[in-house]
């Protein structure tokens, strides 16, 4: 087996206000992959990144990144990592090119090396045209790209991206995803945090699910989906009918149906796909319940999260049932 490139063991971090951000988190993964750390706001994702990138000293635990003990030798660790935080940490009053050159100079590159490295990176992130404009004229997506560029100046072995696409428009998000995938093709190992299930599913080779300071599950996207079995049926009803519907479906489902008040839905496994669907609809019809919408689908990571934690991963409200897609089979609701 390959030596893990990131290895965290039993990291505990309590803040001065008493909040326990990390509850003894351990994780490790091999080089060359994208590891997706998935969890809602406040789950501890950023805290874990800050520990692994030497910004924060944990109360206890140990961490190795690229073969270096992060706590014992943070300076050496910093030579091997890159970080793009939650905010695009670029300088408004410098041009894109000057920003990258500055970071290169801080990596102890000579002025000439820093300039040629900047040109090379700017071309890779398709910012050559805007390179000599001050960053304050950049769009949100361009800033993120520049920030990403700054994080790879030192040719890091491990790149940490903290919510790289939070708060940017869907088109720029697509661009960033392509850039991020490019980087791994280069051999860089990536750890990215996200609260978007779609993002983790799309980019990550392996996913760690984090909630309230605990790593509660780990695996490939498919492994995680398999945890809750095959296809599921989601039935949408008025909220005051959900409990009755769940009771009506309990026997045929063979397990407790999952109620989601926010999405006005009740979900059950569908071992026989369409046949289970017909049966479920018949059951509810016989109970005199009014079904607004019904869907048969592959479980999403959202389902995984609900199964593991009892609550949803995303904090954004789900669209009303009437706006939801009516395709029978879909991989996920479009909520990005």
């Amino acid at each position: 087996m390959t030596q893990p490139i990131v290895e965290a063991e039993d990291i505990v971090q309590t803040f001065s206000n008493g909040v326990r951000a990390l509850n003894g988190v351990s994780l490790s993964f091999e080089p060359g992959i994208i590891y997706g750390l998935l969890g809602p706001n406040g789950a501890g994702k950023t805290t874990l990144i800050r520990v692994l990138t030497t910004l924060l000293r944990p109360d206890s635990g140990s961490a190795r990144v690229a073969g270096v003990d992060v706590l014992a030798n943070p300076a050496a660790a910093r030579e091997r990592i890159g970080l793009a935080g939650q905010y695009a940490a670029v300088d408004e009053y410098q041009t894109g090119r000057e920003n990258i050159i500055m970071v290169g100079r801080l990596y102890n590159l000579s002025s000439r090396e820093a300039r040629s490295r900047a040109d090379e990176i700017l071309e890779r992130i398709h910012l050559t045209d805007a390179a000599n404009r001050p960053v304050k004229t950049y769009s949100g997506g361009m800033r993120r790209r520049l920030d990403l560029a700054a994080s790879v100046v030192g040719r890091p072995q491990v790149l940490f991206l903290d919510e790289p696409t939070t708060g940017i428009d869907p088109r720029s998000r697509q661009d960033l995803w392509e850039l991020i995938t490019d980087l791994v093709d280069d051999g860089t190992t990536l750890l990215l945090t996200t609260q978007y299930l779609e993002e983790a599913d799309r980019l990550a080779t392996r996913i760690g699910v984090i909630d309230e300071g605990d790593l509660i599950a780990e695996g490939t996207p498919n492994e995680l989906k398999d945890r809750i079995g095959g296809d599921v049926i989601e039935l949408h009803l008025a909220n005051d009918q959900l409990a009755t519907a769940a009771a009506a479906l309990a026997t045929m489902a063979g397990e407790e149906p999952k109620i989601d008040l926010m999405r006005h839905s009740v979900t059950i496994p569908a071992p026989q796909a369409a046949r289970t669907l017909v049966e479920a609809v018949r059951q509810l019809d016989q109970s005199g319940l009014d079904i607004h919408d019904v869907a048969l689908r592959r479980p999403t990571l959202d389902d995984v999260f609900l199964t593991l934690t009892g609550h949803r991963a995303e904090t954004t409200p789900a669209p009303a049932p009437s706006e939801r897609g009516r395709r029978g089979r879909r991989r996920r609701a479009d909520r990005s």
Partner: protein
């Protein structure tokens, strides 16, 4: 154990200083307003108070209020300018820039050192400009240019020391808005209850006691001693050497106390 060498540290401080200074060049409004404000103070005080105070100065600065006022305004300028240190630091903290710097293999001290040095360079520029404006409206150094230059150096060193005070306050306050407000709390009594604008002799005795012994007056008096010469020494009844030694003691004392405090606050603010 990987460590950053001294040469690298100096290089990193240089890069950060340049970065901080660039902002002043790219956003010329910053320097403009930082210059217009003290110039406005200089003109206002000179023409509003000059007539009534000038007479009480005797032969100090040839009896011209502008000669008394300018050294004071220089001190006010460097002290107000020091608030830029807290502003710049808190803005960088809020924008995530400091996290980026701290994840790079660069000297940890470069962020604070680069910030205070950039503010020193900026203050130097504004200070020299103030002297030029002063010359245009009648100010004359009474005791030669060498002593004038020495006076500027002492004033700027004091501004540099105050940068560390402001860094501490800013890092305590955490946000730029709070830092700005908190920074002026100590500044107003120090600058106004002092000999910066008027001689302390006309103040009530309790206030005069404070005003005569606080650092801003001591530094202002040292500058006047250097710029106005013997008549001023007679006016405040002390020697130039005493004033310069007192000034250096204050500057060193402030740095000795606030440099480690700022470093501690910085460590706390970033973790």
């Amino acid at each position: 154990m990987t460590t950053v060498t001294l040469t690298q540290t100096a290089h990193h401080i240089g890069v950060i200083t340049k970065r901080n200074l660039l902002r002043n060049i790219r956003l010329p409004q910053l320097v403009l307003f930082a210059t217009v404000q003290p110039v406005m103070f200089l003109l206002l005080f000179n023409y509003v108070f000059g007539g009534s105070i000038g007479g009480s100065l005797g032969d100090v600065g040839g009896g011209d209020y502008i000669n008394y006022l300018l050294p004071g305004i220089l001190i006010q300028t460097v002290v107000f300018g020091a608030t830029q240190t807290s502003l710049g630091l808190t803005e960088d903290l809020a924008g995530g820039v400091i996290d980026r710097f701290r994840s790079l293999p660069m000297a940890r001290s470069a962020v604070l050192a680069g910030r205070t040095l950039a503010d020193l360079v900026r203050s130097s520029f504004v200070t020299v400009l103030m002297v030029v404006v002063g010359y245009l409206i009648g100010f004359r150094a009474q005791d030669g240019l060498v002593k004038l230059a020495l006076a500027l150096v002492i004033g700027l060193l004091f501004g540099y020391a105050m940068s560390w005070v402001m860094a501490t306050i800013g890092l305590l306050a955490k946000t730029p808005e709070a830092a700005q407000a908190a920074g002026f709390l100590p500044i107003f009594p120090l600058v106004f209850a002092s000999s910066v604008f008027v001689p302390t002799s006309s103040m009530p005795s309790w206030l005069a006691t404070f005003a005569e012994n606080q650092p801003v007056s001591v530094i202002a008096n040292a500058l006047r001693g250097l710029i106005l010469g013997d008549p001023y020494m007679a006016f405040v009844d002390t020697t130039l050497t005493t004033l310069i030694l007192q000034s250096l003691a204050w500057i060193i004392g402030i740095i000795v106390v606030f440099f480690p405090l700022a470093v501690r606050m910085y460590r706390r603010a970033v973790s």
